[in-house]
């Protein structure tokens, strides 16, 4: 088995504060997992950030800015599981530049890929054959239609210019703790792990860790559970939605840069919260997608198929006709808002961005708050490392910032929809025009998403039309457009806590919902030699959306991170 000796710790006092220097990790005995040539290699940084998204990169940039201001140097490392920065970034996105204006005020002159201001803002209620214009609840003046994947790439460049080290293709798979249960680093899966389990691992050690993995981050979820961060923050559970998106290139005359359309209603029913979006970018590209709240009741609901149906609406067909799809993807997003924000600080670091959950649901924007949370965490981190304060200042700063004020004001929109579409819309109108968040109470969320699914026998199956190959497509065709790839010779990264549950519970009781909500057809029930349906996990298809981790009725599916460099390859999402 092997005996592991503790590392030799040498504490060296330097004027700016004590620094921990890790010497070596020794292993005795033959551990089958390790190759004989090298012990685990460890690299040290002052700050390790997991995830090169808007929050992570904002934190990295802010840290380096503070270093320049105060004449200090802190080493900052960002690890990113995607093959390149931006590869796993997907968002609508109508961007509010509030946080970017604070972080990089010169962005307009530095060729940031933010060039399409919102030119019109429409809101439609869809029925099967009509689109009824409603007063628009959004105020997008001053905002831009962007590709978040492109913006994040640009932010990555800015971060590297400031000296941040970014390592794409490296997935943080494990958290390292010291003897006092304090987080001291992460282990990354090196690429080239064979199915037999032989692999090398690398450690990134940091004095402080920032987790910015996005919605339902795998390490963040573990940390929140371990340190009871939801209870600590008096927060409810998080609620989620699944967003499925395509970027199309449409015909010349139909393109209207900056046009923003949101819809409600068809194809979703009155009990299912969700809607669609349609944004015109530049270069004749449009972003079109659907967002379905994951607390839907009917296990026969297939969000992907609902999206395909949506594209056949008479108001949408003329726009898409003659166009072609450039990219496809899917990702879950937070809808819990204010009520679900956990206490984001843990011994050794903090959680930022959507991993904690700062998305403003009525605005359907989370990028600006994610970035701001990264900046606040960076300021707190700098205080800890340079001035000896503690990370609680991050929590204080959050509560004093515009994130809090915004999310507090927005807190009662989404929970009102627990009572149905009409009550929800009525409350939205009330909040938007009159109350503006001043209700003296806070509505609570309903059941957690995975508990909201009713058993199959109480629900009716939904018949979805076949794809026509022009406007609507089958999953394999769409998946091909996501540039998803995983090295096939690796263990499946989707783990079943109890391998018998799919056939004993999911299939008979819930009619196998995972075969419907997964936008990548990872979960399929195939008859085996005895003609019994068995679950087959096509882990290679995975888009890293985390829907299965959220919606599985018995929470039996655990999404763990595969070898870095795999997953989708988004470039204009």
């Amino acid at each position: 088995m092997g005996i592991r000796f503790p590392a030799v710790w040498v504490e060296v006092s330097v004027p700016s504060g004590p620094r921990l220097v890790l010497e070596r990790f020794f292993h005795l005995g033959g551990l089958r997992r390790f190759t004989s040539e090298s012990a685990r290699e460890s690299m040290e940084y002052d700050v390790v950030i997991v995830g090169a998204g808007p929050a992570g990169l904002s934190a990295a940039i802010r840290l380096k800015q503070l270093c320049l201001e105060k004449g200090v140097d802190l080493s900052v490392c960002v690890v990113e599981k995607g093959a390149e920065v931006g590869a796993h970034i997907l968002s609508g996105n109508v961007f509010e530049p509030r946080a970017l204006d604070e972080l990089l005020p010169q962005w307009k002159h530095e060729e940031a890929p933010i060039s399409v201001p919102v030119s019109s803002d429409k809101f439609w209620f869809l029925t099967k054959s009509h689109a009824i214009s409603l007063p628009c609840p959004f105020d997008n003046k001053g905002n831009y239609v962007i590709s978040l994947s492109q913006l994040v790439r640009w932010m990555g460049m800015k971060a590297e210019e400031l000296g941040v080290e970014i390592y794409p293709g490296f997935a943080a798979s494990e958290i390292l703790y010291d003897a006092n249960d304090k987080v001291i680093g992460i282990a990354t899966n090196d690429m080239g792990v064979a199915k037999d389990g032989s692999k090398k691992e690398n450690y990134q050690r940091g004095r402080l860790m920032l987790l910015s993995e996005g919605c339902r981050g795998s390490l963040s979820e573990k940390i929140m559970k371990k340190y009871n961060l939801r209870e600590k923050g008096h927060a409810q559970h998080q609620t989620y939605a699944l967003g499925i998106k395509e970027v199309w290139e449409i015909e010349e005359g139909k393109h209207n840069p900056g046009a923003v359309v949101h819809t409600l209603g068809w194809p979703l029913d009155q009990k299912t919260y969700g809607g669609s979006f349609l944004y015109h970018l530049k270069d004749r590209q449009i972003a079109i997608g659907i967002v379905v709240a994951l607390n839907y009741h009917n296990p026969f609901l297939n969000p992907y198929e609902e999206f395909q149906k949506l594209k056949h609406h008479p108001a949408i067909i003329p726009l898409l006709e003659g166009g072609s799809v450039l990219e496809y993807g899917a990702r879950t997003l937070n809808e819990g808002g204010y009520q679900s924000i956990p206490y984001p600080v843990f011994p050794g670091g903090a959680i930022i961005g959507c991993s904690a959950g700062f998305l403003n649901v009525p605005k359907i924007k989370g990028t600006h708050t994610a970035m701001k949370s990264g900046m606040l965490a960076a300021e707190a981190t700098f205080g800890v490392l340079h001035e000896g304060s503690n990370m609680e200042t991050y929590w204080d700063a959050l509560q004093k910032s515009w994130i809090w004020e915004e999310l507090y004001r927005a807190r009662n929109y989404r929970p009102a929809f627990e009572y149905g579409l009409i009550p929800g819309l009525a409350m939205s109108a009330l909040e938007h025009y009159i109350l503006k968040g001043r209700l003296p109470f806070t509505l609570k969320h309903g059941k957690p998403d995975h508990e909201a699914t009713k058993v199959a026998k109480l629900c009716s199956p939904i018949q979805y039309p076949k794809p026509d190959g022009v406007l609507s497509f089958d999953v394999p065709t769409s998946l091909h457009r996501s540039n998803t790839n995983h090295e096939h010779d690796q263990p499946a990264h989707l783990c079943l806590r109890d391998p018998k549950i799919p056939e004993l519970v999911n299939l008979p009781d819930y009619a196998a919902p995972e075969s419907r909500y997964c936008p990548a057809r990872v979960y399929e029930y195939i008859p085996d030699e005895k003609n019994q349906l068995k679950l087959q996990i096509n882990a290679q298809n995975c888009l890293h959306c985390k829907a299965c981790d959220i919606k599985d009725p018995k929470q039996n599916i655990e999404w763990t991170v595969p070898e870095g460099g795999g997953g989708p390859g988004y470039s204009v999402m």
Partner: protein, 251 residues
């Protein structure tokens, strides 16, 4: 002995490519670029030869715009000792690349020049052969196995040819181009990526190498292949024969 490896930055193999609307080429903006897979195999072979003690240094060479440096850094992270970047902005066709490689070979004097058999963006499969011709060196292309005999300065190369495998014995210095089954390239580990930052990359321009980049090729048009037509179910053998003869004109 020094080994020189030529590597090319191409559109990543997993990306779904599309043709630019003006039909002048494939869309490369906002698209993931990586090292050509055959070049990775070439570099891996060079590194293995060095690790077995038969070579002292591996030099990676790439030609093109400034972004080639990223690809060179990946090569350095895999284990190459030094990089050379030939900065050129226009289109570089195989003959130009071959001439530049010849000039670099005269500077660096390697005992072995290894390239990928072809690049996955143009599928030319010409550069290795052309540079061997220009240098007057023996060539072992489509290599699926390479064994070096340092003492006798000979490389024994198994080549994958249409009829099977052909084994050639090449006197060094020689040119080898790699095929898929030669080896499985290693991944760059994080510490190696860090170390690669401090490895040197030397810049050259075509003028410094006395090579004039003039192209005798011009891309006229790039179009997508015609969409596959749906299959037709025939009801009898006669109908099949009729269609094969009169519609498909294959018999």
């Amino acid at each position: 002995m020094k080994i020189m490896v030529a590597i090319k930055r191409v559109v990543d193999y997993a990306v779904k490519i599309r043709v630019k609307p003006d039909k002048t080429g494939v869309e490369t903006q906002n698209v993931k670029m990586s090292m050509n897979p055959f070049c990775e195999i070439a570099l891996e072979e060079a590194l293995r030869i060095k690790e077995s003690g038969l070579a002292s240094e591996v030099v990676a060479v790439s030609m093109g715009t400034a972004q080639c440096v990223d690809t060179l850094r990946t090569g350095l992270a895999m284990g190459a000792d030094r990089g050379i970047h030939v900065e050129a902005t226009g289109a570089l066709y195989p003959l130009s690349v071959a001439k530049l490689l010849k000039a670099l070979v005269e500077v660096e004097k390697p005992g072995l020049l290894i390239l990928g058999k072809q690049a996955i963006d143009d599928d030319c499969n010409q550069t290795g052969q052309m540079v061997a011709g220009l240098l007057g060196w023996p060539q072992g292309t489509f290599a699926s196995k390479v064994v070096l005999d340092k003492e006798n300065q000979v490389a024994t190369v198994d080549r994958e040819v249409d009829g099977g495998l052909e084994t050639l014995s090449l006197d060094l210095p020689a040119v080898i181009t790699t095929d898929l089954r030669l080896n499985q390239p290693r991944y760059a580990t994080l510490p190696n990526i860090m170390k690669a930052k401090s490895k040197a990359i030397k810049k050259f321009t075509p003028q410094e190498l006395n090579v004039e980049i003039k192209s005798d090729l011009e891309v006229v048009q790039v179009t997508e292949p015609p969409k596959r037509k749906a299959g037709v179910v025939v009801s009898s053998v006669d109908e099949l024969l009729d269609k094969l003869k009169n519609e498909a004109h294959v018999i």
